[in-house]
Amino acid sequence: MSRIPRSYLLNRLVTLVLTILIAATLIWIIPRLSPVDPAEIALGRMAAGAGSVANADEILAQLRAQMGIDQPLIIQYFKYLGGVLVFDFGLSTASFPTPVSALIAQALPWTLGLMVLSLVITFVIGNLLGALMVWERSPRLVKVAIPAAMVFTSIPPILSGLLLMWIFAAKLQWFPLTGSYGLTVEPGWSWDFAQSVIHHGFLPALSIIVVTFGFWALGMRGLMITVQGEDYTTLAKAKGLRPRYILYRYMIRNAILPQITAFALKIGLLIAGQVLVERIFAYNGMGKLLYDAILDQDFPVIQGVSYVIILMTALSVFLVDLVYPFIDPRVRHEAA
């Protein structure tokens, strides 16, 4: 750690803490501004279940006490912040009395798995293709086919998801339409289960990959054009180094640095896009949890899911910033 300048680290840490604090506060304040009373929603749900409810006022008061919304706002706020730090978002109102954190803990691995997989694949493929588009030795086909294919990469993954779902799941029936594993397999560390998970996860992952690799390819192309004109590239060529060696060790190595920073800026949008893909594929992740919670007006779950996703985003940005000085030593030297 001593190799990272302290001011840089401090700066990033402050940004991280502020992001989490502001996000948590927004998530808390917004529902408080709304005229909707969560206790009344809960009562309405009881009434819908039982036909009629006697002593409605007493039950309302009790519900409010249980939810802690009869206390002064400032106390509520600090209680909430304290809870959020240990991932305590209260109890789900739709599937009462399951804690929200338990629901999130169930959904999170699915989302993380899908995210890491599709992110790594798109980052590698996108940057490689972007580099090949500029490299003078790449086959002609690459230079013609990739720009044409990239037109479609401006589309959000939900639209590509619908299209892939229709072609490969509804029409051809190569892949299952929805879900994250088959109904007949038992979740566990078995080959059948793994196979089923891959089979179900293929289309959601593909719909994210086909529309996001172009973002990296485009950025990489612009950076590679700059690197191509640099003196060190010319020198490397003049020295007679192997072209492939120049491509990987001289050009891509230098061009990829700003891409890693772009990664930090883009990740929020990528995660939001994935939430929607999970919703249309009814994939067992955070997206489905969020969608179900919206349908049920289950506020604690909506808050919890939003908070955890924002936390994930902020943490990945922080991690990228933390790793960056090791990839680009100039950052270390400038501050020292």
């Binding site: 927004l26 917004i30 909707v36 939001a272 506020f299």
Partner: protein
């Protein structure tokens, strides 16, 4: 051919140009005016097409057909048959959805709505960004610190999730309200961009010169610096339009967003919920999806075209 040359003292060509030469000449002229590059024109054309669809549709088509139950349910577009073996009819050339609304009327109203949300949100975000970016770059000090940290923080928060919380708490929103809410999340990138550019431009010769000759700050900001920023501003504006529309569509597909006005995202939401994919009602979700895709491709092409304007190295003659 002297009219293709930048030099006046050239002899007239004695032989007619070959096709390849003509193509080369066209490219040369394009090189002279970067704003006329084909990507930019194609992108603008696609978006204009959607605006025209909205205008012409309102004049030529009966928009009352957008109400529920105004036609037979689940009719296919003309030339196709649905699962009940009903053929498409010319009264509803693009078919009808699961509650009997005419698809053509739906997209005539819905497509410009999506574009409107994107443009309005991005315009507000852009204006905020210009003001904050210039302020941060010029004033510096504590003000700069606050603006920089705030935009750094807000850029990592995905707008979709905060807006989900907002809309599920408040219920129905109007189209303008949704645009305003999204605008609260698209001012960060223009702010950062302009701040960085202003900081580097402040050191440049022509700004120093203007300052030494006693030009007022507003003159330096708007007459000296802003014109140089225009390609970047346009690029950032278009990128924000895309982000705004993606966010709006995302909210609509989750069943939030305006509930009483037809939007493309809401149509997709209803189609998914009604199982349109299994029932092979492809026109119900497919037509709005296609329109959105056209919109995004148009925006991307404009952005690529603007890149060529601001980064001449991307313009190539070959």
């Amino acid at each position: 051919m002297s009219n293709f040359s930048t030099d006046d003292n050239v002899a007239e060509a004695t032989q007619p140009m070959t096709r390849a030469e003509k193509r080369q000449a066209r490219r040369m002229r394009r090189f002279d005016n970067p704003w006329l590059n084909p990507k930019l024109l194609w992108g603008a054309g696609l978006l204009l097409g959607i605006v025209l669809l909205g205008i012409l549709g309102r004049i030529l088509w009966n928009l009352d057909l957008v109400f529920t139950g105004s036609a037979t349910l689940k009719l296919p577009p003309v030339g196709f048959e649905n699962l009940r073996r009903q053929p498409g009819v010319w009264d509803h050339p693009l078919g009808t959805d699961g509650s009997g609304r005419d698809m053509l009327a739906l997209i005539v109203i819905g497509a410009p709505n999506s574009l409107f949300v994107g443009l309005l949100a991005s315009l507000i975000g852009m204006t905020t960004g210009i003001v904050l970016g210039f302020t941060a770059g010029f004033v510096g000090g504590r003000t700069d610190d606050v603006i920089r940290v705030l935009s750094d923080v807000m850029i990592t928060i995905p707008p979709l999730l905060i807006l989900v919380v907002f809309q599920s708490a408040f219920g129905d929103v109007s189209l303008t309200m949704m645009a305003l809410l999204i605008a609260g999340f698209v001012w960060q990138s223009p702010t950062r961009l302009i701040r960085a550019q202003v900081l580097s431009m402040k050191q440049s010769g022509y700004v120093q010169m203007a300052r030494l000759s006693g030009a007022p700050t507003s003159h330096i900001m708007f007459r000296e610096m802003l014109p140089n920023l225009i390609p970047y501003l346009f690029g950032s504006f278009i990128a924000n339009v895309t982000t705004s529309i993606v966010t709006a569509v995302g909210l609509e597909v989750l069943g939030l967003g305006p509930q009483r006005i037809p939007t493309l995202g809401r149509t997709i939401y209803e189609a998914i919920n009604a199982g349109a994919l299994i029932q092979n009602l492809w026109w119900w979700w497919g037509i709005p999806t296609l329109l959105l895709a056209v919109m995004f491709i148009g925006l991307l092409l404009i952005n690529l075209g603007l890149d060529e304007v601001s980064n001449p190295r991307l313009r190539r003659l070959s």
